[in-house]
Point group: C2
Chain length 198, copies 2
């Protein structure tokens, strides 16, 4: 019934579990595709090119900016991050949903370009829990963890720009909740073609 | 996280399955209560007082109108139908959701009183299917079925006033879809108390 797929923005502080959730959603919702961002930051151990990010050189990234190949991009701590335009447009035009894991600034840009984008904010139950998760994954220094937590507080100020809040207490529950949100959005009258009953 | 429960309006043409869906939802969603309307029309075979309707005498109904005990009421083909106010208010104040099976006119009244009410329209895939279901349940004369179908066409004109459309093709699927909608609404930022993260 949808004219085209939905653009679904999932933002979450680093460590709140958004990339895991996206992978789970892709398995559960046959019509959902997760967008993979481009970045110039170095690949971390365990990350896979084309799955976590497309890791590219800064010159390549700048060329893509010039060719307007990003729907949104940002420079964060000396590294570039961008959401590719062609994948997004192709996916929604084919009637599939596209999920974007992006930060609050990127989310606001997407909302401007796609006013019907569904904006979901994922957060841990508390900051203390967020800190525990960041420590547990043994990826960041104490300094980086402090910066990520400060950043999370800043990001939360943008919560009123979002449509939905999902608390990632248990991963399975949070994923099911986002699944419900996406299913519900498919039944919104504003998202469906004028139905004709014969 | 909710300040109070949600008011959920489920409208559907006669025969589209709304009362069955409501009973199923009540079983699946522990926080949902279905409101039972009052009516002055005679009880039909198989109907149970207090489950399908509260069947009361016209004088009693009129007294309830005078005492403003209905959030909405209507007279349809010589019979009165009304949604009791106390059950609705008590339920949402206790933090539970209340589902109302009401027609489009009643739905619009509810929306005025409760602007955040969630409005769901349930329809069969086609009018032909609606007719089949009305015929199959062997409850109405040919004339009544024709009137119900004509009425369904009229009701569908109010579809743009609703938030969601659910097609009741398979009962289990339609129920699951409404479940998703209710779950999603519980995560809407506009429906939740300003979250505080510590």
């Amino acid at each position: 019934m949808l004219e085209q797929g939905l653009v679904i923005v999932v933002s979450a502080p680093s460590g709140a579990g958004k990339s895991t959730i996206c992978a789970l959603l892709e398995k559960k919702l046959p019509r959902l595709r997760c967008s993979v961002s481009f970045t110039t930051r170095p690949r971390r151990p365990g990350e896979k090119n084309g799955r976590d990010y497309f890791f590219i050189a800064p010159e390549k990234f700048k060329a893509m900016i010039r060719k307007k190949e990003f729907v949104e991009w940002a420079r964060v701590h000396d590294h570039y991050y961008g959401t590719p335009r062609s994948f997004l447009d192709k996916t929604v035009r084919a009637g599939n949903d596209v999920a974007l894991n992006i930060d609050v600034q990127g989310a606001l840009s997407i909302r401007k370009l796609y006013p019907r984008a569904v904006m979901i904010f994922v957060m841990t139950p508390t900051f203390a829990e967020l800190k525990r998760r960041l420590v547990r994954r043994r990826q960041d220094s104490g300094e980086t963890i402090r910066r990520r937590l400060a950043n999370a507080r800043k990001e939360l100020r943008y919560l009123p720009s979002y449509d939905y809040l999902v608390i990632n207490d248990r991963l399975q529950t949070a994923t099911r909740e986002i699944e419900s949100i996406i299913n519900a959005e498919h039944h919104k009258l504003k998202n469906i073609r004028k139905p004709v009953f014969i």
